[in-house]
């Protein structure tokens, strides 16, 4: 029972992380229909930037995180400008942006290695340890959950209450119609690339503090973002959040039955089964 509670809490903490990744990835995907695979290395880039600023240049952590967010947002906008926008102009078939994104992925991933070196980076911060009955958690875990809650609420408010937010929702529903009613879809696309990448930077900074950063971490991250979106149903950000938590819980509670070596595979197997059996997502009927 104690183990179960511990795994449940781990699942919820990781769920916050995956849900955050799902929010950022899902926002870009559902609005622009672009499978932005390079979301992964941009996330890695953010983590290394934060490390560089905090450990290398000695800036306070909060300032370093802001720097990481700025760099990620810039890279997000740049990838739309330099790659996806050009492909849209050529009227490339829908699969081409994804394939090009794979190219961008290996470019950025290796650029991280060239710029920052390829070793694992950790920050010398150890959070305080807390016990709630038999369950163990750290202040970093609390930060992860809290960041997710704040960002999710802020994003929800932004999407519903502001002009640009509503433009994003309109474009998610029907890009053609959005254009017809006079929404500048190019500007909205830039906006979601900036916001989505910024969100990924927050997740990256938290993971850096918690586990450290490695050059290949982005691959897993973008997959988790994709899994969250698929499990939740494309086009629904609430679904992406639910999907993120669900996958994390399956992954965590899966430890009951599956050796640790295989834990990393669980999410891929979940993704595989999900796309096979229910490509429209678990919650597709309850859109938004």
């Amino acid at each position: 029972m104690d183990l179960f509670l511990q795994l449940l809490v781990n699942g919820l903490v990781n769920g916050s992380h995956y849900a955050l990744l799902g929010l950022g990835f899902g926002l870009i995907f559902s609005t622009t229909r672009i499978v932005h695979f390079a979301y992964g290395p941009i996330y890695t880039f953010a983590a290394y930037t934060v490390w560089q600023l905090a450990a290398g240049s000695g800036l306070p952590l909060w300032l370093a995180v802001c720097g990481g967010i700025l760099v990620a947002a810039g890279l997000g906008a740049a990838s739309y400008f330099a790659l996806y926008r050009q492909l849209e102009r050529n009227n490339a078939p829908p699969l081409i942006p994804l394939i090009a994104s794979l190219g961008l992925t290996i470019v950025l991933e290796n650029l991280v290695g060239v710029l920052f070196g390829s070793g694992v980076r950790t920050l010398d911060i150890s959070g305080s340890v807390h016990f709630l009955g038999p369950v163990f958690f750290t202040s970093i875990h609390i930060w992860q959950v809290a960041s997710f809650v704040v960002i999710a609420l802020a994003l929800g408010f932004f999407l519903r209450q502001t002009r640009y937010g509503r433009a994003i929702l309109a474009m998610t529903d029907d890009p053609e119609m959005a254009r017809v009613i006079g929404i500048n879809t190019r500007r909205v696309s830039y906006l979601v690339f900036v916001i989505g990448s910024a969100i990924s930077a927050v997740a990256a900074a938290l993971i850096l503090v918690k586990d450290g950063a490695g050059t290949h971490m982005g691959f897993h991250a973008v997959f988790m973002g994709f899994v969250a979106v698929i499990v939740g149903g494309v086009g629904s950000l609430r679904g992406a959040v639910a999907g993120g938590f669900l996958v994390a819980l399956v992954e965590s509670l899966g430890l009951f039955a599956i050796p640790t070596d295989w834990q990393a595979s669980i999410s891929f197997v979940v993704l595989f089964l999900m796309i096979m059996l229910r490509p429209e997502g678990l919650f597709s009927m309850a859109r938004r």
């Binding site: 490339a92 650029l111 060239v114 997959f223």
Partner: protein, 567 residues
Amino acid sequence: MEYLYHVAVLFCLYAILATSFNLLVGFAGLFALSHAAFYAIGAYATAIMTTSLGMPFPVPMIASIAFAALLSGIIALPALRVSGHYLVIVSLALQVIVLQVIVNWKSLTGGTDGISGVPSFEIFDFALNTPGKFLLAAVPALILCYLFSSRLIRSPFGRALRAMRENESAAQAVGLNILYMKVSIFALSAALAAVAGSLFARYFSYVGADSFSIDETIYILAMVILGGTGNLRGSLLGAAILVAIPELLKFLPLPVDIADKMRLIIYGSVMMLVLVFRPQGLVPEPKGKRAMLVDTEGEDRKADAGWLLEGAHGDQVATVMDGLNLGKRFGGVVAVRDFTIHLKTHRITGLIGPNGAGKTTAFNLLTGFLRPTDGRIELRGEDIAGKKPHELVSAGVARSFQDLRLFTNMTVIENVLVALPNQAGHRVSSLFFKPMHVARQENQNAAVAMAILRFVELDGKAHETASELSYAEEKLLVIARLLATGAEVLLFDEPMSGLDQTTLAEILPILKRLADHGKAICIIEHNLDVINDLCDEVFFLDEGRAMAVGTPEQLMSDPELTERYFK
């Protein structure tokens, strides 16, 4: 010198990988990005069989090929149900899972240490243990793989693959078995990757999971895209360029790990630049007559296409198809309810009604594209529930689409050829075991296809690319392609919409002649003059049900219907 030979061996390996990947990505249009996984499977299978089991050549290579083909076939069955983005992501996940299994199955694969000590090839005590000598194995392997791929592509099967790539539902509608094609091309592509894997293990005498990561798949993909998708020679060129570039980098004074990263950065950049500035690649897929994969010298011969244009019931009027009380619901929406129709030879049946009345849904039900939620469909008295579209085509029911769905990048005659029934060349095994039979049939088919084109008066355009036709010609080609299936029951979805009077006057007699020849015809049409002129019986559909059935005169004299129709 040995260094140059080493580069040449690498080129051979990657040329095999790139051409086999092009089969899947370029010709079949399936972006299943797990090629490096099958490369790995081939390498590991050979390494395990030579080191642990001590098997002599050629057993390990054959086993590698067979194992990769089998495994990919099993995987393909579920994975190829999805398409587009999902297929890309699923196959990337698959690649990760395969590598995880390799790394975690330590007793078999050595885990992260890999397997070393794989013996090189030996021919009568002559060991191929230097790069120069290894070329004696690598070059013939490349040539064989290339010839195999080329045979596959330049055949009726290859033509069918391209048709599937152009439009999957249209390919089904002309009777192609999509599932068979996807699984076989996936398995064959994996088998060829396993050949490269097997050579890899022999050459480096070591296999480790690092060599087969996702980066490797993307590397091979970059070769295919740079060279040009849908062109095998392009893949050779792409492989040559992308193997040579990192070797040139070695002349720059860079630390080793930076050089390795630069290499990957270059591949990624090449891929993006090509996709933005030259998406067709360095050697684009040929178009027009040059793209014809099959010799068409037979096309000028006399051919009797009559058997394709005749019904099977001679002069008598017979009911061949019955839809009984058909119903279709999508969630809560009822698209068709309680719809009963009988299609007879020598008769033209019309479906009219406002947009959204369920006419096209009715077609989809009758041709197996949708499964009815209620009711039965019988063909010559036999229940055909649950049959796939391509099975129905060979049973004698074929349809056209309102939005045409031509194979636009193929020539006019290829559009017709691909639809001809019972082609031995559509089966991979016949290509290699009955090549003469395939060639003979192909010659006859070319003549038959030409005869059908003459029937619709498109023979002058036979070698033009379908995308270059005028709208009216496209409509004629749709009819020609539908006729080529030889089906007895023909369902035309708005064959005459958007045409001017002159073209109408060309198409109307064609449909009448088909009915005279004994076909059972059903058309969806909005033009009431056409309905009046052609149809023996008309169904007026609205809100998913038949509001009225009768001769055109009867329906048009009903004031209530006319009002409904023009509301």
